[in-house]
Amino acid sequence: MSATLSVSTEDGATVLRFTGRMDAAGIAGIWTQTMRAAAEPHEGALVADLAGVALCDTAGATLLLGAEARHGGPIGLRGQEAGLDTLLDRLRRAPPPPQPTPAPGWTFTSLARLGLRAAGGGIAYLGEVAVALAMAPSRRRMLRLSDLLRTADEAGVRAVPLILMLGFLIGLILAFQSAVPLQRFGAEIFVANLVSVSLLRELGPLLTAVILAGRTGSAFAAEIGTMKVNEEIAAIRTLGLDPMTMLVLPRLLAALLVMPALTLLMDASGIAGMSVVMQALGYSPDAIAIQIRQTVALGDLFGGLFKAMMFGAAVAAIGCRCGLAAGNGPRAVGQAATGAVVGGIVAMVLLDGVFAVLFYLLGW
């Protein structure tokens, strides 16, 4: 039964007469009406008559306090149940809500300080990784082999089917897309050169690293972020152990180890995909092999594998860093995982640019 309100005047006082149930559902229909009635200027006192009220809980009491605030002074009560005065007293005792402090506006200095702090944090993290690597021989006990193998299994072995499937399809698509324009010049045979060079030098390492960032970098961030939220990182520190050696190094080393293997599989399956298209165009496997051998040098393959290792290290390091820098709460873990994927992909593209210049200067 919803509450009802009727307003009348008795001996100069304005009387708000309530009936029915004054609970959260009951007062929904009379809230606005009550506030409006209480806010109107009154010559005499404002009285709430609750004699016809079946129940008045905190929702009803909040309504009366709201009316009191609109009225600008105390309102008289009559016909109320004994407990209501105690409840109103309890609610009145709560301090008023804090005034929201306006957020400081962005200035050039605050932005610069923020950027410097982020850059400083990144450099400090790299330094910590370097120190952990240098100290690893003396901290052999902290560097747990089982952790490294588990991570290598999750990041590497379990990614093999995905890598093989994507590599094959990408080789197939690349070959097909390039065969169509090259056919106009009667140069389909060069599809083998094009696809094998682009796969071995660029696409193989890049795509493998993108998969690593999506599968593994985010998992590192989520796992370490959850450990941070659960205060496991603090526990590691208070046990006199180093989280960099215990958590970051095994993941970093695992990524360094599995990336060349995964990239090699990506290259091989891509070339297999390309071969399928080439054979469909009428070229024999021998002809394809000769084309590849003429174009691709071992340096291309090893350059690509080296790049893949560096991409893997970057993805793992950024994933772990995002986890370690996570804030509190489940939202922070999600943000850390997103940061790991975005940061990993951006870092690998930047690194790829650096390698492109470096390889050009070295004449590879």
Partner: protein, 254 residues
């Protein structure tokens, strides 16, 4: 809402979990009790005796292996009208279980938003009032990650109180709180019982709290796989024949 008969009836409830591999692990069996309106009923016992499991069964989250649960006159299992019952009970989970992406105010406002037609201004006022009741009037705009464990528990109580339910379930409300806050919380429970005639079912093993608030209590025991005591906690403390009950109330090592 006046209800003839008990607000909560638990009849011959049992719970066992299948263990990995073979067999089942019995937690408790033959648990029966009822709670009348306006009572503060405490479920107590040592760690691992199934207190929280029993509460989960009562609030409809875990079907019992055997037995029946009636809340506010409705069967919770199979529970065709459980949705209706759930809007008339309030539950505070052990960890607080606040929604991490919402401020405390938004956490308390959520049930009001979902189950009433109150205007926004009224929802805010009501949520502020509930947070004020548990002493968090100055923390309404904080996120759960920004507050202490004790504050999170109190905010969870405020959320459980949002719709002023006639029956409230609190799982370990005072665990991990300082004695002053804990005593304040006990007083709040008693006040709400007196003012709103609300019924409380509280799971706890805080002795001081049990003696301060409980009208009656039920004691579960891990070894006995069931109830070993039911009644007024003060009477049990002073006159129980069971050595396990005496040891619990006198804080003696078993």
């Amino acid at each position: 809402m006046a209800l003839d008969g008990p607000v909560l009836e638990v009849r011959d409830v049992a719970q066992s979990f299948s263990t990995e591999g073979f067999g089942t692990r019995l937690i408790y069996e033959h648990v029966s009790f009822s709670v009348t309106a306006g009572e503060v009923f405490v479920i107590l016992g040592g760690s691992g005796c199934g207190k929280s499991t029993l509460m989960k069964q009562i609030i409809g989250l875990l079907p019992p292996t055997a037995g029946s649960v009636r809340v506010l006159g409705h069967d919770m299992y199979p529970g065709d009208d459980r949705g209706d019952v759930l809007t008339r009970i309030g539950v505070m989970f052990q960890s607080g279980a606040l929604f991490g992406s919402m401020t405390l105010l938004e956490n308390v406002m959520l049930p009001l938003q979902m189950h009433t037609d109150l205007p926004e201004e009224a929802r805010v006022a009501l949520a502020r009032a509930k947070l004020g009741l548990v002493g968090l009037a100055d923390s309404t705009e904080l996120l759960p990650a920004e507050i202490s464990g004790g504050m999170a528990k109190r905010a969870a109580i405020a959320r459980a109180l949002a719709l002023d339910p006639p029956l409230l379930f609190l799982d370990e409300p005072s665990a991990g709180l300082d004695p002053v806050t804990s005593a304040g919380l006990d007083q709040l429970i008693l006040d709400l019982r007196d003012i709103l005639r609300a019924t409380f079912v509280v799971v706890t093993h805080e002795l001081a709290s049990i003696l301060a608030i409980a009208d009656r209590c039920l004691m579960l025991d891990r070894g006995a796989h069931g109830v070993i005591a039911l009644g007024d906690p003060r009477a049990l403390r002073d006159g129980s024949d069971d050595p396990r009950v005496r040891a619990f109330f006198r804080r003696e090592a078993a």
